[in-house]
Chain length 212, copies 2
DNA sequence: AATTGTGAAATTGTTCACAGCA
DNA sequence: TGCTGTGAACAATTTCACAATT
């Protein structure tokens, strides 16, 4: 069984977004070259990525936009919806609750958690905020499949452990720490400070960097 | 001149954070093994990454925590401060303005921009919000070196073009589109929906994925 | 004895180049 | 003819293994 690298998965997400755009503009067929251009990749890269999952194109012609879009949606798990909970209704958490892209793609924010009594048992943008003490119970009851962590760094690991103990296998972590989980659990981390550090590195070390 | 890969830069950020933690706990010396453990890497990886920038350790002993931390800070450009502006004071933008990590590391949010008259010429969390019409002028006047884009997808490229035209060489993009810039400008993109899609992919394709 | 620093080997990821097909 | 699909070549990255050093 071929293993898929995470750069391939990332690019699938990009292709999916491109395809939505091409579809909106009325394209019926596109070539790997077209797809590559919008994402600044090589056509070979596009074809190789897609080839891991099947033969979606027609030689001499290209790929049917709508069908390819559907196929990628299926591969990425976007043809179903997911029950998502978020822990930490602070600045970042709050922004994520309102983030339209999530809803659009079937990620349904079902529950919020916080440890601040002023927030607990109120509704935040239409979603109930629960006491993090009841995290495990609520996650199970509501069949939550993904948890977004938007808690302070010092609390992240502790909350992650609770989340894992509740049987959730997917965590999206916004706390600026590396969190540890058993290997059947997948964690993705978004560290915004790290991204700025990358930019700062590039300015300080102009021309000293690979690619761009 | 050895070129540095962007995974190496990312790991330097991680080492930096680890070192702050080790320092706080009173460690004076650490080994590549110690550093590797907290970030779930191999000791060889740590040594190789550091070796690109010099010989920071002592054979038989390890690395001096404080000095290594300072050296990495220098490499990442964290020993100076940066003038940062943010465009798009919506949900995401607003959260970023309050994001403590930025200030901590010398990224000073100097200016905000929006195109909503209700927000313009007011102060948002102590920072003035300007009309995006005056973007170019204000960026130059205030010697802004990095711009954070937190605008809707459809506006991102247009704003990016303005930013580039104002001479800014670093952009951190939160809009869910790929933006195009000349090659002397560095863009980093944070696409939160893409991260959830990755998690969804992993659930749908259990065990079909490399590493984790 | 312990740990760094680093060439060499192994692995992983990308691009090439062309056969195969519409 | 044009474009996909893919094995083979190539490039980049990671890991190994060991000499060098304290």
């Amino acid at each position: 069984m071929t293993k898929i690298s995470d750069s391939t998965v990332k690019r699938l997400s990009m292709y999916y977004r491109s395809l939505l755009e091409f579809e909106k503009r009325g394209y019926k067929i596109i070539s790997s070259k077209d797809l590559a251009k919008t994402e600044e990749l090589t056509p070979a890269q596009v074809r190789k990525d897609l080839s891991f999952f099947g033969n979606f194109g027609t030689r001499g012609l290209g790929y049917p936009v709508e069908e390819l879009k559907e196929r990628i949606a299926k591969i990425l798990g976007l043809t179903r919806s997911w029950n998502v909970a978020l822990v930490g209704v602070g600045n970042v958490g709050s922004a994520l609750v309102s983030y339209k892209e999530f809803q659009k793609q079937g990620f349904n924010m079902k529950l919020l958690f916080d440890n601040d009594q002023r927030k607990i048992n109120k509704s935040h943008k239409g979603i109930p905020v629960h006491d993090v003490t009841f995290l495990s119970k609520k996650l199970k009851e509501n069949k939550i499949e993904m948890v977004i962590l938007a808690v302070p760094a010092h609390a992240a690991q502790k909350v992650a452990d609770l989340v894992v103990a509740s049987g959730v296998k997917s965590i999206l972590n916004f706390a600026p720490v590396q969190i540890k989980v058993p290997k059947d659990v997948v964690v993705r981390s978004v560290n915004m400070a790290m991204e700025l550090e990358y930019l700062s590195f590039c300015q300080v070390n102009k021309g000293f960097l690979q690619s761009s």
